[in-house]
């Protein structure tokens, strides 16, 4: 298994977000599906220790994530947030910044192409891009770390249908080209079916069902 969560509970501001949650995410392409507020994004944050649970355990490839140095874990299991959050500067500045966090030497053009952006975007001001373009830059930043797992939080939530289809095609191609494992959070069961082979359905902080996409999302 890629990730295993065992009896995980977490509260925020006194409100329970995850309640005794147990589930597994397989190697390959997995998705966490559920309505807004169900705890999907919170689960994602536990996978690379952006947060820790109040109770329970999270294991990555058989080892408790708390046994890993958090920064090294996040470079290997890289989270792409739902909303873009670029640093000031150009697209290339952002990609190099991310690469420097992992002490990598980036091929900016290649990373942009992998993310579905023309390399000519490298010198453009990140703040002036569209939301969809910024999200692709966030993806390029994550890829600059050469991760083994990508965690994608609602990767197309702010996009129209055309842009959404383009991003999904990019993600599918990335998985195949780079042999990346992915965990995608989405509220859209149809998108989960397109992007993942293994589904965990989440509702009110619990995993209510998990299994092959064809079975869970019939």
């Amino acid at each position: 298994m890629l990730f295993e969560l065992a009896r995980v509970s977490l509260s925020r501001a006194g409100r329970p977000v995850l309640r005794d949650l147990t589930c597994s995410l397989r190697e390959g392409a997995s998705a966490l599906v559920g309505p807004s507020g169900s705890g999907k994004s919170t689960i994602l944050r536990l996978l690379n220790r952006l947060s820790d649970p109040d109770e329970g355990s999270v294991a990555y490839r058989g080892a408790d994530v708390r046994e890993r140095e958090p920064r090294a874990l996040r470079r290997e299991v890289c989270l792409v947030p739902q909303l873009p959050a670029l640093i000031e500067g150009t697209v290339a500045d952002n990609v190099r910044f991310a690469a420097a966090c992992g002490e990598r030497n980036p091929d900016v053009g290649r990373l942009l192409r992998l993310s579905g952006l023309d390399p000519a975007y490298a010198d453009r001001d990140g703040a002036r891009l569209s939301v969809g373009e910024q999200q692709r830059v966030m993806l390029a930043r994550a890829l600059a770390l050469e991760p083994k797992v990508l965690l994608l939080d609602e990767p197309t939530s702010a996009l129209d249908e055309t842009a959404r289809d383009a991003v999904e095609a990019t993600l599918t191609e990335l998985r195949e080209r780079l042999d990346l494992a992915t965990v995608t959070v989405t509220h859209d069961p149809a998108q989960a079916r397109r992007l993942a082979d293994w589904i965990v359905r989440v509702d009110t902080g619990r995993a209510v069902e998990q299994g092959a996409a064809a079975e869970v999302l019939q």
């Binding site: 925020r12 999907k40 994004s41 919170t42 994602l44 944050r45 690379n48 220790r49 952006l50 947060s51 820790d52 958090p70 920064r71 090294a72 874990l73 996040r74 470079r75 890289c78 989270l79 792409v80 947030p81 739902q82 909303l83 959050a85 640093i87 910044f97 991310a98 966090c101 992992g102 966030m138 930043r141 994550a142 770390l145 939080d153």
Partner: protein, 257 residues
């Protein structure tokens, strides 16, 4: 330089300007009359009290008493600055360290360079100015730190998600907070003598000092204060930002998903 004597009657006469302030507040319904009255009473009580304390210290002529007074000012200043930086968790510790270092470093340097003699009549007023300015700078810096970390939580999390350390993620915000702490005194030092006369120089002129002596002493104090606010701002922000992060490089209060 001759001494200057101020009578109680003369102090009372200046209350006419307080009456002007209260009248303006009433006229424009600014609702500051109570605050002005509290300010007048507090300034009267506090300055009279500290005046007698300083007189006692001068009479005893003990550097230990001076050190004790400076320590009390550091503690009081740290608590006051903490009240202004309510969004910064665990701010008291960094503030105590920042103000202590600012006081020790600047007064120590001033004495080591022979700028002032190690006497209460120099150390008490200069120490008070150093700690007061260091406190204000640290409070402004930490206030900015708290606001910016709250407002940039998404940006910080995105940087942490790349495997950056909490220091790396907070670095731009710490830098901006440091600037905020220092910029006010830097700007006022740039314009001193053009737009306003600083307090020490005014006091010395009123006491009959030679203007050139007054200017020299004022320059010494301005430059000493610049050093002290730099020390207090960099130490306060450099230590306080850690309160927002866990040892595992997580933001303690992450943004809602």
């Amino acid at each position: 330089m001759t001494g200057i004597e101020v009578s109680v009657g003369e102090v009372a006469a200046s209350l006419a300007l307080i009456a002007v302030a209260i009248a303006v507040s009433l006229w424009r319904r600014a609702e500051l009359e109570e605050d002005i009255a509290v300010a007048v009473v507090r300034s009267l009580v506090q300055l009279v009290a500290i005046g007698y304390v300083i007189q006692a210290i001068f009479d005893v002529d003990s550097l230990w008493l001076v050190a004790a007074l400076i320590a009390v000012m550091v503690v009081f200043g740290a608590y006051t600055a903490r009240a202004r930086a309510a969004k910064v968790p665990g701010a008291l510790g960094p503030l105590l360290i920042a103000l202590s270092l600012a006081a020790v470093a600047t007064l120590g340097l001033v004495l080591a360079l022979g700028i002032f003699e190690p006497e209460p009549r120099y150390l008490v007023p200069v120490g008070g100015m150093v700690i007061g300015n260091a406190m204000t700078a640290a409070a402004v810096a930490l206030n900015r730190l708290g606001d910016d970390i709250e407002g940039s939580a998404r940006q910080i999390e995105a940087t942490l998600a790349l495997g950056a350390s909490s220091a790396e993620a907070a670095a731009p915000i710490v830098r901006r907070s440091l600037r905020s702490g220092m910029i006010t005194l830097v700007d006022s030092t740039k314009t001193t003598g053009l737009i306003f006369f600083p307090g020490t120089m005014v006091g010395m002129l009123l006491a009959g000092a030679d203007p050139i002596d007054a200017v020299r002493l004022q320059l010494i104090l301005l430059w000493v204060l610049l050093g002290s606010v730099a020390i207090s701002s960099v130490v306060a922000t450099g230590l306080a930002y850690r309160g927002f992060f866990t040892p595992a490089h997580q933001l303690r209060e992450p943004p809602a998903p």
